[in-house]
């Protein structure tokens, strides 16, 4: 049957247009679209009347069962019925437009059925839509050549379905709302003046240079060749009124002024849910496994920080629990939407210890073992991670370490019989495999440990503790010790030798001699001689390892973190969580992972992960249902990292999460925006430079969410809008004090750049250009743009230069290097433009425009990279300050991501994770794994870190996981 239908469709499309529409007494649509399963496949809206198919921009949800509607987001969603309206043969003498809609957001220009042009003196066509909070019917006839906007006499209700009808009989325009005549006009007469070219659009006001999608619900839109009578209007209104889908409640978080919430496992069977309120107030949490099993937890104290720790023991690990926050308001209650807490994302907790007796004798050494294990764990200062026990004997120290910490213990023993005994005992204790594993590995001063480097947060030795035996060379110990704080706690306990004649005694001198093999100059060493002789060493930074604290490496947007170690000869260092399940779909141009001081931060789909960058331990994860950002082509990331904290923007605040625990320690509010009126603002840009936390204010709703499978690749209205801010400000991140605010104009978020003591950005200072509804610059950037430099410490303007970047359509970037700042953008023809300016004076240095060299998979969206004095963009290599073209890459590569660099190597998705040598251009790939469609490969800390970002890809890439690679030269044993 399917094939017959296919044939009929083919034949139908091949048929000439028919115009017969009106039969005696009954008005029939000549074109019409109704949302419903049989008509809408998620992308194409098949016509219920006529032959014109609507194609959805973006990806919208359908709601309802019997009668359905599509949810329009007010940014990207609309149906394009035709981009060649002349071919539609629409009625001109008489007509009726009819629609069922919910309009949730009043706006100056809104369209439901749009077939018009309103460009100065060129006014044509017609529109059924709304202006501000009133429905309207607009039409231009040949007699006037001007549009009449007929507005309803009363505002619409943003939470109700409305039936809207506009009719024109050649002399009179009538507008009906909900079966009632709402306005009439006789200003137009004669045939409609149709436009020769242009769009027919549903759900948006659209003409050549304007695109204003509606926010709300659309059920049906119809066009008639004839005039619907008032009686018919009333009848049609009444016929459907009670059958339409329920209007979804609006997200009330902003009205509630609730910030957060954060939901985090604190143990295997406990979850903490916390949030903040703008003012001190009581607050209520509802939490439960199902909507009808929600239990209330009341925080009766009026305060701003609220938190509950809830027991979820016994809940299936795949369960999804639900919660919401309730605020008392005016004698009643206001509720947030229902949030999910997904129990399967529990990578940051370890299973509870089994309650079993110790397999080791309770003797005079038991307390000693526990005490030394406690000292070692306290010294390590890592809650989770890996502990290497060299010379594990029968596993007694490993046992105590496992009991006293959440660490995974890797115990190494060279004697096979002792190793087997250790396994049996630890198995008996219920720890084997889950918390401790014992490996039989030859030890000794010449032995090479079989392990990849850097994995151990703590290195200890039981054989050394007991007998003073040096298990292997200090060089080997150091090789496996984690940079940025890994602790070696090695030595002999006095209790092990006291009263035991013949036990070898380790001396400080012998230990010091042993340490000669290792270069421990990058860390802190201490000698402990109380209770024995011990060397305690905390490893420092990895020399040459860079950080990646911002979306594009640092606040300078260079996409090069200065890592001097990572090259193109790489081996796997570790792999692990997160996998694809908690991640956003790969196409939505999602925020990059960050790395500072050994901490790897990964943003999933409304979940944050704090990992140990050197072994993949998931130290914490926090579910943050209100935190999401996408389309970073046209926006900035919502997170930045300092050595001690991750800063993340959500709603109108930025939150400081402790790097080690993910616990929120402070929050910062967007300062009031001058002239805000009723508008609300969210935290847009976020950057951390020294003790300064930088932020910007973006109209609420301006940021993209990427929840509908968007790819943001093409010149699509609602997808290429560049998110902007109306102020830029700086806080002292440690004191919480607002230091300065800059609000001279409208700042393009993706251009905010900091280098040394200067903040740079592109800004328009024309107040008329403030996009206060959308928070975005749609289409090309405005003509009147400035390149601005502020003093980082004070916010004072250093200079501002008028620049012409009006050709930047797809995107607008700014990157900074030594001596130059460079603006990049591509125009409507996908010509890629670079403009370089002196970073001290703003004087133009050079500019370069050329066709995009990669003509697929977002090649025209390329983000530049700056490595020292080289600028890489659009497959060109430039001398940064002169613009001299040093090299052009001729080769092609497949993927949709962008570049990132170490000092030696450029990384980018090819088919798989790909890279090329900056000097030789030699290319390589790491087969089996791919990254996402923005920046997912970060060279930092001496590693190439590749958190999973390919989620949802149907492709046959064999592996989807987070993985870290190291240079082969760092792996030598």
């Amino acid at each position: 049957m399917f094939f017959r239908n296919l044939i009929l469709l083919v034949l139908m499309l091949a048929m000439p247009a028919h115009v017969a529409a009106q039969t005696s007494g009954t008005l029939k649509p000549v074109a019409g679209w109704t949302i419903g399963e049989s008509h809408f496949d998620g992308k194409r809206l098949m016509p219920a009347h006529g032959r014109w198919v609507g194609v959805l921009r973006g990806n919208a949800r359908v709601v309802g069962t019997q009668v359905q509607a599509i949810v329009m987001d007010g940014r990207s969603h609309s149906f394009q019925v035709s981009d060649n309206i002349a071919a539609m043969d629409l009625p001109r003498q008489t007509l009726t437009l009819e629609a069922w809609v919910v309009v949730r957001r009043p706006q100056p220009w809104g369209g439901i059925i749009s077939a018009l042009r309103d460009n100065g003196d060129d006014e044509r066509g017609y529109l059924l839509g709304f202006r501000n909070d009133r429905f309207c019917f607009a039409l231009a006839s040949e007699a006037t050549g001007k549009l009449t906007y007929l507005e309803a006499d009363r505002p619409f209700d943003t939470a109700k379905w409305h039936h809207v009808v506009g009719t024109y009989d050649g002399t009179t325009m009538r507008l009906y709302v909900d079966g009632r005549l709402a306005a009439t006009s006789t200003q137009q007469s004669g045939d409609v003046l149709m436009l020769p070219t242009g769009w027919f659009e549903l759900g948006a006001y659209r003409d050549d240079d304007e695109f204003f999608p509606m926010q709300g619900l659309l059920h049906e839109a119809l066009v008639y060749d004839g005039v619907m009578s008032e009686t018919q209007v009333k009848r049609r209104y009444a016929a459907k009124l009670d059958r339409l889908p329920a209007v979804e409640t609006l997200d009330e978080v902003s009205r509630l002024r609730v910030h957060g919430p954060f939901a985090q496992f604190v143990s295997a069977d406990q979850v903490r849910i916390s949030w903040e309120t703008s003012e001190p107030t009581p607050s209520v949490l509802e939490f439960g496994p199902a909507m009808d099993q929600m239990r209330r937890y009341v925080d009766a104290q009026p305060k701003v920080s609220h938190s509950f720790v809830l027991n979820i023991g016994g809940v299936n690990e795949k369960a999804v629990l639900h919660y919401r926050i309730i605020q008392p308001r005016n004698g009643g209650e206001v509720k947030t939407r229902i949030y999910d807490f997904e129990c399967e994302f529990n990578d940051a907790v370890v299973p509870p210890l089994p309650e079993r007796p110790s397999p080791y004798p309770e003797d005079d050494r038991s307390a000693m073992y526990r005490a030394i294990a406690r000292q070692m764990i306290d010294a390590a200062n890592f809650r989770r991670g890996y502990c290497l026990v060299l010379g594990a004997e029968e596993g007694r120290l490993a046992y105590e370490l496992a009991r006293l910490s959440d660490m995974q213990i890797v115990a190494v023993e060279s004697d096979p019989a002792r190793a087997q005994t250790a396994r049996r005992k630890l198995d008996e204790a219920g720890l084997y495999g889950t918390r401790v594993s014992v490996l039989h590995v030859p030890l000794g001063m010449e032995a090479k440990l079989p392990f990849a480097p850097y994995f151990a947060n703590l290195v200890v030795s039981e054989s050394m503790l007991l007998r003073g035996e040096l298990p292997c060379s200090s060089e080997e110990v150091y090789r496996v010790l984690r940079p940025y704080g890994g602790v070696a706690y090695l030595g002999q306990a006095a209790w092990a030798t006291s009263g035991a004649s013949g036990t070898p005694r380790l001396t400080a001198g012998a230990l010091a001699q042993w340490l000669h093999d290792a270069d421990v100059s990058q860390g802190e060493s201490r000698w402990l001689e109380e209770g024995g002789v011990f060397w305690l060493h905390r490893r420092g930074a990895l020399p040459g390892g860079g950080d990646w604290s911002h979306q594009y490496a640092s606040a300078d947007n260079s996409a090069a973190g200065g890592d001097d170690l990572v090259d193109d000869d790489l081996r796997v260092l570790w792999w692990g969580r997160p996998g694809p399940r908690p991640m956003p779909d790969r196409g939505a141009r999602n925020p990059a992972p960050l790395f500072t001081h050994g901490n790897l931060f990964v943003q999933g789909n409304r979940i944050l992960f704090g990992l140990d960058g050197y072994n993949g331990t998931v130290r914490w994860s926090v579910q943050v249902p209100e935190f999401r950002r996408a389309n970073l082509i046209r926006d900035c990331s919502n997170m930045a990292a300092a050595p001690d904290h991750l800063y993340i923007a959500g709603g109108s605040r930025a939150f400081a999460l402790e790097a080690q625990t993910g616990i929120c320690s402070r929050s910062f509010e967007v300062p009031p925006v001058r002239g805000a009126g009723q508008l609300e603002y969210d935290w847009g840009y976020i950057g951390v430079v020294g003790d300064l936390l930088l932020g910007s204010s973006t109209v609420r709703g301006g940021a993209y969410l990427g929840d509908e499978g968007e790819w943001y690749n093409d010149d699509t209205p609602g997808e290429i809008g560049k998110v902007v801010s109306e102020s830029l400000f700086a806080y002292d991140r440690k004191m919480g004090k607002l230091l300065w605010t800059h609000d001279a104009g409208v700042v393009v978020n993706a251009t905010i750049t900091v280098r040394r003591d200067t903040v740079y950005f592109l800004e328009t200072r024309d107040p008329a250009l403030k996009p206060r509804i959308t928070g975005r610059f749609e289409g090309n950037l405005p003509q009147a743009m400035h390149l601005v430099a502020l003093d980082l410490a004070t916010g004072q303007e250093k200079w501002a230069r008028s620049v012409d970047v009006s050709m930047f359509r797809y995107m607008a970037y700014l990157v900074a290097g030594e001596g130059a700042i460079v603006a990049a953008g591509s125009d409507a023809r996908r010509v890629y433009h670079l403009q370089a300016y002196n970073d001290t004076t703003g004087e133009p240095l050079w500019q370069y425009s050329t066709d995009t060299r990669k003509k697929h998979h977002s090649g025209w969206l390329d983000h530049p990279v700056v490595v020292d004095q080289r600028l890489f963009a659009n497959r060109h290599t430039f001398e940064l300050c002169t613009g001299e073209v040093l090299h052009i890459n001729e080769w092609d590569f497949h993927g949709c991501g962008i570049m990132s660099a170490s000092n030696q190597t450029m990384f980018q998705r090819m088919s798989f994770h790909g890279m090329w040598d900056l000097d030789t251009g030699k290319r390589k790939e790491l087969a089996g794994v791919r990254t996402g469609c923005w920046l997912g490969l970060i060279p930092a800390g001496g590693m190439l870190l590749a958190p999973e970002s390919s989620a949802g890809c149907s492709c046959t890439h064999a592996i989807q996981t987070t993985v870290s690679f190291i240079p082969r030269k760092s792996d030598r044993r």
Binding site: F3, P450, G587, G952, I959
Partner: protein, 464 residues
């Protein structure tokens, strides 16, 4: 219709009756190196639980589940293409049952009659796939990068071999394991043990043949484009290696020379596979499909909705998320080929009309449309006949595992396992289990059910 049904019942009965009801071992995953999931043995009709083994910890899988959706293609509920170790599958030889644990890294031998532990052997990493038992020896691979050969009675180590190039260990999903873990199981044929080692192709992934008697490596080849994960399969001349989310690869059994990788569409890989001759059936792809390749061919011949498939003579039994079906596979594939040809022809005509409508004269256009209508009718007729190849259908949510023992299909579901008469499609037996029944084994009068909670249930007849 009634006659046709009767005839089919007869064919089914003949196909099934040709198998004897003798007791059989289940010496490797899904019974044999073709991973058929079929034993000739008929289990007692009155199966009841005799013992349960409960692991202190549930299985700890190598890979977490798939993404929640494919946003670009709007595909929800993606299937897991790397799911091969979410339970402890049991293999059986004589009165002993064996399994490996990916939690405590051990290989276990249980008394098949009582479930009591006979012995356990520690490897140094998770044992993710079931052992293989041949001639009194247990062959098993571990994430520690080694293949072990153990005495089946005592559990003593006979030999171990590391296929990878060096002993390099690193953190893989929270465990210290080899950079070249053995995650294909071990296939033993004609005195040779075959396995692969390695996950990341950039580190090279190795396929090797080992003298099963001595542990001496006979040959080793490598791949640098694909991992090897999931149960390896073998035919008389070939080795089939599943790769995870990608499609399987085929090698010559005599020397490990790579022949080809299966072709297909995007997202149609997976680690579930079975062989019938040299026809490979694999899946589940991203949506739960079984892809059938031609005999010794790399191209897909057909695909069926399903998570698992049993092939028995001309019949196939398909397990989807919602039903079990019996399919006259041979007839279906023939009709499928005819329909594919007709569909291709129709698409070509439609494309021509679409592109050249303005230039085709009216007469030719009428003729083309008439041909399309004829082809369409033929396609509908073929589709109808293909539908008739489904001989019975049993709605059920038992979608996790499927085997055939004698005349009875056993299907694993959530907290339950059922027996279904393969001739009539009627449910004939049911028992409760603890968790999702992800793996089934039938041997020597017993049915073993392994669940995602690390539990192994053993069922047998009253007289056993």
């Amino acid at each position: 219709m009634h006659k046709r049904f009767m005839l089919m019942q007869l064919i089914l009965l003949c196909a099934l009756c040709s198998r004897a009801a003798m007791a059989e071992d289940w010496p490797t995953y899904n019974h044999d190196v073709a991973r058929s999931g079929v034993t000739n043995e008929t289990l007692p009709a009155d199966l009841h639980e005799v013992w349960v083994y409960r692991s202190p910890h549930p299985p700890r899988v190598a890979w977490p589940g798939p993404a929640k959706w494919d946003g670009w293609n709007k595909v929800y509920d993606l299937k897991d293409r790397t799911n091969f170790d979410a339970a402890f599958p049991v293999v059986v030889a004589g009165d002993r049952a064996y399994f490996g644990s990916n939690v405590d890294d051990k290989v276990y031998c249980l008394d098949a009659a009582t479930g009591e532990q006979r012995w356990a052997f520690y490897t140094e990493g998770p044992v993710r796939l079931a052992p293989t038992v041949v001639d009194g020896r247990v062959y098993v691979g571990s994430d520690d990068g080694h293949v072990y050969c153990l005495d089946a009675v005592s559990g003593e180590l006979i030999w171990k071999h590391r296929p990878g190039p060096e002993d390099r260990r690193l953190i893989g999903n929270g465990r210290m394991i080899s950079a070249w873990p053995v995650r294909t199981g071990v296939v033993v044929m004609d005195g040779v043990a075959y396995c692969c080692a390695g996950v990341f192709p950039s580190e090279s992934v190795y396929l090797c043949a080992i003298d099963a008697a001595t542990g001496r490596q006979l040959w080793r080849t490598s791949m640098t484009d694909l991992p090897a994960q999931g149960y390896m399969l073998a035919s008389a001349t070939r080795l089939y290696v599943t790769t995870g989310r990608d499609r399987p690869v085929v090698f010559r059994r005599e020397n490990g020379e790579r022949i080809f990788q299966m072709t297909g569409g995007r997202g149609d890989g997976g680690t579930y596979a079975l062989l019938t001759g040299d026809t490979l059936i694999y899946g589940p792809g991203k949506t739960g499909e079984m892809f059938v390749t031609g005999e010794q061919q790399r191209d897909q011949l057909a695909s069926f909705q399903g998570n698992h498939m049993i092939v028995a003579g001309p019949m196939s039994y398909l397990q989807t998320d919602t039903k079990l079906t019996a399919l006259d596979r041979a007839t279906y594939l023939d009709l499928h080929t005819q329909r594919r040809v007709a569909t291709t022809q129709m698409n070509q005509i439609a494309e021509r009309i679409r592109k050249q409508q303005a230039t085709i004269d009216a007469e030719e256009l009428r003729e083309l449309r008439a041909r399309m209508m004829a082809l369409s009718a033929r396609i509908d007729a073929l589709s109808q006949r293909m539908n008739e190849c489904y001989k019975w259908e049993l709605p059920t949510t038992h979608n996790h595992a499927l085997i055939l023992a004698g005349n009875t299909l056993y299907a694993g579901g959530q907290n339950s396992v059922i027996g279904v008469d393969a001739v009539t499609g009627k449910e004939v037996w049911q028992a409760d289990v603890d968790g999702a029944a992800l793996s089934l084994s039938a041997a020597n009068g017993r049915l073993y059910v392994s669940t995602d909670r690390g539990t192994i249930h053993c069922f047998t007849g009253q007289s056993q």
